[in-house]
């Protein structure tokens, strides 16, 4: 009896100590670390396992390699970067858990990039309260371009409305004019999720404008089994198929297209359906398949890729295999990391060079990005990216893309640069953002807040 009593006491003490240990450092130590931190902290949300790992891994490797490269180049005006990874498995709940765990670490997170539309939706509600910016380069909600409503979101370089708009423009060009799309059939084969449904409003708008018929064919996630979708494609015989997939859905779609005899050169993927993992194991069967390139494509010859091979891989610090450097999704991760870093550099211009920026200060940097061609070229992105400049009203900063085509072994650019039509997208963004603001009771920002 006595023994049990003692044991209980011991257990209680252990629990109390555990609770204290987990609570106390959050107080003084946390504040202290913020005051003396000499390092800028970048949390990295990754998915290296699960259904979407083939696409998540190269992105994560590119992201981390770029942060390593910045450190090898001496940091941001002397401020070294620290970073660590948290595995989300592409699951929203795990993404939010990672966010909660990482936001206060190392003096506080600078910015989050979830690489998941689901996690982005969840964090969009949390970020304003925590005052941490979110960069969603090429994904997330299209209306977050409106910085007057979405103060903390930055869909840099493109949204799905931009993607859909550019694709339709390209098809119009191919046909010899947008008016020639009249009477054509365009099928959207999409991931049945918020991500896949995001382009529908824009495509409906364009279909009304040009008189083409839009067929919507959903594919249940993760999209392993797509027979019924492709039987519908075979029956409808659309003139073009737009593929809005992610992960294994893309390669499965290409295999089904081959199996049902749908010509691959009539297929156009979004920029998340146009990388090596999507076509690699289809090989010859994917020959002729086109996809959007979110500005960059596969860029093994770019200066930044060579720098990484020399300064990161060359020193035995590469994150993934060497051959991956320069691949499409690797470059996507790398450019995403560059945006995160350059926002901080921009913020330092205002709040003090060589200082660690808070998340709030970094947010100002992302809202006032001024990456002109000279700066981009200096960073090693010549021929990879076009200038990006953001503002309070425009959190996207650029709306350009190209088409690249798989030749059976590699991706090659097959179009000129194309810009999304602001006259169509802007009113849609405004309306959608205003609706969101109304639902969530967000007061639009004032001009004074923009200049602050």
């Amino acid at each position: 009896m006595k023994l049990t009593g003692k044991l209980k006491l011991l257990a209680a003490a252990a629990v109390a100590a555990g609770v204290l240990a987990s609570v106390v450092p959050q107080g003084p130590a946390y504040a202290q670390s913020k005051a003396v931190a000499k390092e800028q902290y970048f949390p990295v949300l990754v998915y290296r396992t699960g259904a979407y790992a083939p696409n998540g891994v190269p992105f994560a490797n590119g992201y981390v390699d770029y942060l390593k490269l910045v450190n090898a180049r001496g940091g941001i005006n002397g401020v070294k970067l620290v970073f660590d990874e948290c595995e989300t498995g592409y699951a929203t709940d795990r993404g939010v858990e990672c966010y909660e765990r990482m936001k206060g670490r190392n003096g506080g997170a600078t910015v989050f990039q979830p690489l998941s539309t689901g996690i982005t939706f969840a964090l969009t509600d949390k970020a304003p309260g925590d005052k941490i910016p979110l960069i969603t380069a090429g994904y997330g909600r299209a209306d977050t371009q409106d910085g007057m409503v979405f103060k903390w979101n930055f869909p840099l370089t493109g949204t799905y409305w931009v993607a859909a708009d550019i694709l339709i423009q390209h098809l119009g060009k191919k046909e010899g004019g947008l008016d020639r799309l009249k009477g054509k059939k365009i099928a959207l084969v999409y991931h049945d999720s918020p991500y896949g449904k995001e382009p529908i409003p824009l495509l409906e708008e364009r279909s009304k404008m040009h008189g083409f018929e839009l067929l919507q064919i959903p594919v249940t996630a993760p999209g392993v089994e797509q027979k019924s979708a492709w039987l519908q494609v075979r029956q409808a015989r659309p003139d073009y198929v737009l593929l809005w997939g992610w992960g294994v859905m893309n390669s499965a779609a290409l295999k089904e297209a081959q199996a049902t005899g749908y010509p691959r050169d009539k297929m156009y993927g979004v920029w998340w359906a146009g990388a090596e993992p999507d076509v690699k194991d289809v090989g010859e069967g994917a020959k002729g398949y086109n996809a959007l390139a979110l500005q960059h494509g596969a860029e093994p010859n770019s200066k930044v890729a060579k720098d990484i091979l020399r300064d990161v891989h060359g020193k035995g610090q590469g994150t993934g295999p060497k051959e991956e450097v320069g691949q499409v999704l690797y470059m996507r991760g790398l450019t995403a990391a560059m945006f995160a870093v350059e926002g901080v550099r921009r913020a330092q211009e205002r709040y003090g060079k060589g200082k660690v920026m808070s998340a709030e200060q970094a947010r100002w940097g992302y809202e006032n990005l001024a990456l002109d061609q000279k700066k981009l070229d200096g960073l090693g992105f010549a021929g990879v990216l076009r200038p990006i400049s953001t503002s309070c009203a425009d959190h996207m900063g650029s709306a350009w893309a190209r088409i690249h085509t798989w030749d059976g072994a590699k991706w090659n650019f097959t179009s000129d640069w194309l810009q999304a039509d602001d006259q169509i997208i802007k009113p849609m963004v405004k309306a959608s953002a205003a609706k969101y603001a109304g639902e969530k009771k967000i007061a639009p920002r004032t001009v004074a807040d923009c200049q602050a």
Binding site: K227, S228, L231
Partner: protein, 333 residues
């Protein structure tokens, strides 16, 4: 005979649903036939996974949630090993890995849980499933890997003179069907004609009685898990060659759940018939019923294929709780 009227009614309704698109003129005969064939072939593939479930449930009363993970693990082994050796050698080695796995499961998990509640065993297999998913990826990697059976992936069009546009047949699916049929035939012979097969059936009928006449239960479990492992390997090989070997293969197992519910947990023919019914049902529903449903009720859109399979299984449960071919239990109370 009278008691069976709900089953007959359901059968009649399903048959009506099947031919409705054709009769109403909503579908051209050629296309309808194509969807039917596509459904049957997808069904065969579901059956392959469902077989693994049924085998283990029949012999040990364990609902093996890890069957999907086993499919993924076996396919990953085969794909990665075949990079270094010929396919047949990789197949043999993968089969060996699955046998070792079965032995480990018996040794480390099942032996300690003899005579425990069914739900405890189910939870244990859930644990195995998570372990195998994670460990498989750590061991073999999480990229998309290739299994090349050397079958042409281009479509074959037949009966072009009869139907406009012809009927599309996928050679891969045809080969899958032949492999599945061969596997079922092999299992039937194994269960009916060999001493081990008889012992397995005895265990399935009554554990205690089987033990009392000297059938070693542990031994039998190793065998049945090994057979399920090899079935998983074949399923993984066929699915993997079609779709690429990747984590999502594991989710194919979720498709096998409605199949075993519908076919009956203990029945090998049930797994086959269930697979075919689910395959045809969901393809027909998605292609012909889905768009009508969305239009009629102005729904937000999206696929119905996934939940339709479960709904079909649930309706079957209403009229035949033990499944189509399941054993009818009469409990004395």
């Amino acid at each position: 005979m009278k008691k069976n009227w709900p089953v007959y009614t359901l059968g009649a309704l399903l048959a009506a649903g099947l031919i409705a698109p054709l009769a109403s003129g909503a579908a051209a005969p050629g296309f309808w036939l194509e969807v039917l064939i596509g459904g049957l072939m997808a069904g065969v593939l579901y059956s392959l996974v469902a077989l693994g479930f049924a085998l283990i449930f029949k012999a040990s009363g364990v609902f093996n949630f890890a069957q999907g993970a086993m499919v993924l693990f076996a396919a990953l082994s085969l794909a990665r090993l075949s990079e270094a050796m010929p396919l047949w050698a990789a197949f043999a080695l993968s089969a060996l890995i699955m046998v070792v796995f079965a032995w480990l499961v018996e040794r480390l998990v099942l032996r300690a849980l003899v005579n425990q509640e069914g739900v405890t065993l189910l939870m244990a297999t859930l644990g195995i499933s998570y372990f195998l998913d994670g460990f498989g990826q750590s061991l073999w990697g999480s990229d998309i890997y290739k299994i090349d059976l050397g079958i042409s992936k281009d479509p074959t069009i037949i009966l072009e003179s009869v139907f406009q546009g012809g009927i599309l047949i996928s050679k891969e699916d045809l080969v899958a069907t032949v492999i599945a049929a061969a596997l079922v035939a092999f299992l039937a012979v194994f269960f009916q004609k060999t001493a081990t097969g008889r012992a397995l059936r005895a265990v399935a009928d009554d554990h205690q009685a089987a033990q009392s006449i000297g059938i070693p239960l542990n031994h039998i479990w190793v065998i049945v898990w090994s057979v399920a492992g090899v079935v998983a390997l074949v399923a993984g090989m066929v699915w993997g060659s079609k779709l690429g070997v990747q984590f999502s293969l594991q989710q194919v197992a979720l498709k096998a759940l409605p199949v075993v519910i519908l076919g009956g947990f203990t029945s090998v023919p049930g797994a086959i018939a269930g697979g075919l019914i689910i395959g045809v049902g969901e393809k027909m529903a998605e292609v012909f019923f889905g768009p009508v449903l969305v239009k009629a009720f102005d729904l937000a859109g999206g696929g119905i294929e996934n939940w339709f399979a479960y709904m079909l299984a649930l309706i079957f449960l209403l009229v035949r709780p033990e499944g189509l071919f399941g054993e009818r239990h009469i409990d004395r109370v």
